[in-house]
């Protein structure tokens, strides 16, 4: 029972992190490792800066 509850909480937490983009850097690292393992990955700070800049260069919010 407790184990199932823990698993449920874990799944929920993962969903919240994914929805909010909290796990974005980890997903970037995974993608980077899979696609270009030889090139150095961006630092957390550089990645976040780039991500913000890209996100807000287009229409992202509406009425």
């Amino acid at each position: 029972m407790a184990k199932r509850l823990m698993r449920w909480v874990h799944t929920l937490w993962r969903a919240v992190r994914q929805l909010s983009g909290d796990d974005g850097y980890e997903r970037y690292l995974a993608h980077h490792a899979a696609s270009r393992p030889d090139a150095p990955a961006l630092s957390r700070h550089a990645w976040f800066a780039l991500r913000q800049q890209q996100k807000w260069s287009g229409i992202k919010r509406c009425c």
Binding site: A15, V16, R17, Q18, L19, S20, G21, D22, G24, Y25, R27, Y28, H31, H32, S35, R44, H45, W47, F48, A49, R51, Q52, Q53, Q54, K55, W56, S57, G58, I59, K60, R61, C62, C63
Partner: protein, 690 residues
């Protein structure tokens, strides 16, 4: 066989329940009706439409292909193109499309009674808005996630592309102005609201610093910190309101607040995104989702009675909040929540780049809009559970009902909606405000409605806190839209100016950033300024303009979709987009015609300009009104020209679409379909292997 019968019975049950609820709402006269019927009707209508109409469109009209690789898979770059879990995409898409629009439109349209707005929200969404969002998402997905403007250019030709671009730019300007006006009306002479809204700016910056410098990318930690600070700011505003010296710092009439918003808009547009825009967007998204869920729960739990009649006498066009008859103005006033052209900009360009499989398109495109429509239904409930007298007292501008409280209650009571000065004073006191009269724009009456729903669910003594929480929550995402819109407007302008003089097109060249931001801010700042000094409340002018422009954008998206359907040999199914398109053409053209040619100065822009110049010439205006009259006259003429321009834009693209369709049907040359070639998806097998 067994499952078929049980599912048949289930859907038959949903259909009957939905029909009973809609019928109950529509046919009920005289007796009060419970808000739960609205929720039931809405949920049943969306469920039936999603299960049958959306599924049919997906399978038969669009022929969604689950074996086809999406742009997210083919062009995966780990950034904007990235296959993402469907629920996450749904969350992002919904957060992007649901802004303050679906909260404000229904609140204003409640002046006609609860029925017209509610029916339009339901029918408009399932036959119009949801279809628009879904087909745009599908066509953009099949075209490597191209934007609406690019699709219009590829599929119809240059005229369509330019029209889409110009319409987007203008609607942005009008949208920002009207949203700014809503915030100003909520903050004027209210130290509590003003100080709380002001506090959201340093709070957002603090969160920005936290997410960018202190703990880069820790979005959840930063947002949690921000939400706590925002709640403290709501309580802190109440404390400031009690301090004789401090409260005067935040006690301002409309005009200085409008200038503050204009100055803020300029600063926000030139600051780096990480400092203000991005963190506040996280905060407003969390606040928005949290408040919506809370409101839905409170409505279901409390089951408040609707007090507004089904129809009011204002269907004849004499409404105090905005002038104009039920047809076409209820359809113009409620754009977001029924059909919103702006969504087609999100459904093309952003969301398709995240889709892992075409199968997810109905849920995200159609389902996302259905949820936004539900938000609009909740806003309608919050506005109509108020006493109608109170609703009109809050929303009617002083120029219509009279400057003093005594005059206003006499006018409103004479309409058959009894309200007293004591009642309004007591309400204002409960909400922690000096007055609630003439707070036109929807936000304050929605806040009073929400506060009374939350208040009875979670404690009456917290009414003032709930009211200012609701104001803060709306201002938060209105300011986000304002920043984001100004920035997008700037990019578009820079793109355009780059054709004239190349350096102006460089988005990172500081002089160009300053110049183009100043142009965009002055454009919406002008309309905001005029809206604030207008004695009849600028909402009467700006909101219909916004509705018309938003729906013209929707018509452009539907033109592109209809053109693509015809060109793909699906003429017999083209009605799914052509029907809502025809309706939009009718309502926007009628509304534009009336806004230009009506003799009633509260409806016609030119009639208003003429009546004002007559009064000015006759010397019938007080000196302060005479001083601003020339500006108001010019503005009414400008609005008429703008409305005419919008309509011309619409007809231009409709005719262009018809030309392409007719040429195609006659076998002549048309721009070829720009669909990307079919590659089989490899994601499914990869996921199964894992």
């Amino acid at each position: 066989m067994k499952t078929t019968i049980s599912s048949l019975l289930l859907w038959l049950g949903v259909a009957l329940l939905g029909a009973a609820a809609v019928g109950g709402i529509a046919l009920n006269r005289g007796e009060s009706i419970n808000a739960l019927w609205f929720v039931t009707a809405a949920l049943c209508v969306y469920a039936i439409a999603y299960r049958f109409y959306a599924a049919w469109i997906a399978a038969t009209v669009l022929c969604i292909d689950a074996t086809r690789a999406t742009p997210a898979e083919r062009l995966n770059n780990g950034r904007d193109f990235m296959p993402t879990n469907r629920w996450v995409v749904f969350g992002h898409h919904f957060a992007a499309i649901a802004g303050p629009g679906p909260l404000i439109g229904p609140t204003l349209a409640a002046q006609f009674g609860y029925l017209p707005g509610t029916l339009w929200i339901l029918i408009g969404a399932v036959l119009g808005g949801c279809v628009q969002d879904m087909v745009t998402l599908f066509f953009s997905t099949r075209r490597d996630g191209r934007s609406l403007g690019q699709m219009a250019r590829d599929e119809l030709g240059n005229i369509g592309g330019i029209a889409a671009l110009v319409a987007t730019f203008l609607i942005m300007i009008i949208l920002i102005a009207v949203l700014g006006l809503v915030v100003v009306n909520a903050m004027k002479n209210s130290p509590w609201a003003t100080s709380t809204v002001a506090a959201t700016i340093p709070i957002a910056m603090l969160v920005g610093l936290y997410m960018y410098k202190l703990r880069p990318g820790r979005v959840l930690e930063g947002s949690a910190l921000g939400v706590i600070l925002l709640l403290l700011a709501v309580a802190g505003g109440g404390w400031i309101d009690q301090q004789a010296g401090l409260r005067e710092l935040f006690n301002h009439p409309g005009l200085p607040l409008a200038f503050a918003i204009i100055g803020y808009g300029f600063t926000a547009a030139i600051l780096p995104v990480w400092l203000l825009l991005a963190p506040r967007d996280y905060l407003s998204t969390f606040m928005k989702l949290g408040t919506m869920i809370l409101l839905a729960l409170a409505i279901v739990w409390l089951r408040p009675e609707i007090r507004m009649p089904a129809l009011t006498q204002f269907v004849d066009g004499s409404g105090p909040i905005f002038g104009g008859k039920l047809f076409p103005f209820v359809f113009i006033t409620i754009a977001c929540g029924a059909i919103s052209g702006f969504h087609s900009l999100i459904a093309s360009g952003t969301t398709p780049k995240l889709l892992a499989n075409e199968r997810d398109i109905p849920m995200i495109g159609y389902g996302g809009m259905a949820l936004e429509s539900f938000v609009a239904i909740m806003a309608m409930i919050a506005a109509t559970v108020l006493d109608p007298g109170v609703y009109f007292a809050i929303n009617s501008p002083a120029g219509v009902v009279g400057k003093t409280a005594a005059e206003a209650v006499i006018t409103i009571s004479a309409w058959g909606f009894p309200v007293t000065v004591e009642q309004m004073n007591q309400l204002a006191q409960q909400m922690g405000e000096a007055t609630l009269f003439a707070r036109t724009g929807g936000a304050p009456s929605l806040a009073v409605g929400m506060a009374s729903i939350f208040g009875s669910a979670f404690g009456e003594h917290l009414l003032a806190l709930w009211y200012h929480f609701a104001i803060m929550f709306e201002a938060l995402f209105i300011l986000t839209t304002l920043d984001a819109g100004t920035r997008v407007g700037r990019f578009m302008l820079q793109d355009l100016l780059g054709n004239i003089w190349q350096p102006l097109g460089r988005t990172s060249w500081y002089p160009s950033v300053l110049f183009s931001s100043a142009v965009v801010v002055s454009a919406w700042g002008y309309f905001l300024y005029i809206g604030v000094i207008d004695p009849n409340g600028g909402v009467n002018i700006l909101w219909p303009l916004f509705g018309i422009s938003n729906q013209i954008l929707a018509a452009i998206a539907l033109c592109v979709a209809t053109g693509i359907l015809v060109k793909s040999g699906k003429l017999k199914y083209a009605w799914i987009t052509a029907l809502p398109l025809a309706w939009l053409i009718i309502i926007t053209s009628t509304a534009t015609w009336q806004k230009i040619s009506s003799d009633d100065p509260r409806i016609g822009f030119l009639a208003a300009a003429n009546s004002l110049s007559d009064k000015l010439a006759a010397g019938a205006l007080s000196p302060d009104k005479a001083a601003v009259a020339p500006q108001l006259i010019f503005n009414q003429q400008l609005d008429a020209a703008l409305a005419l321009f919008f309509a011309a834009l619409l007809w231009l693209i409709v005719i262009d679409m018809l030309r392409v369709c007719v040429r195609h049907l006659r076998g002549r040359a048309v721009p070829p379909l720009s669909e990307a070639p079919h590659y089989p998806t490899r994601l499914e097998e990869a996921w199964q292997r894992d």
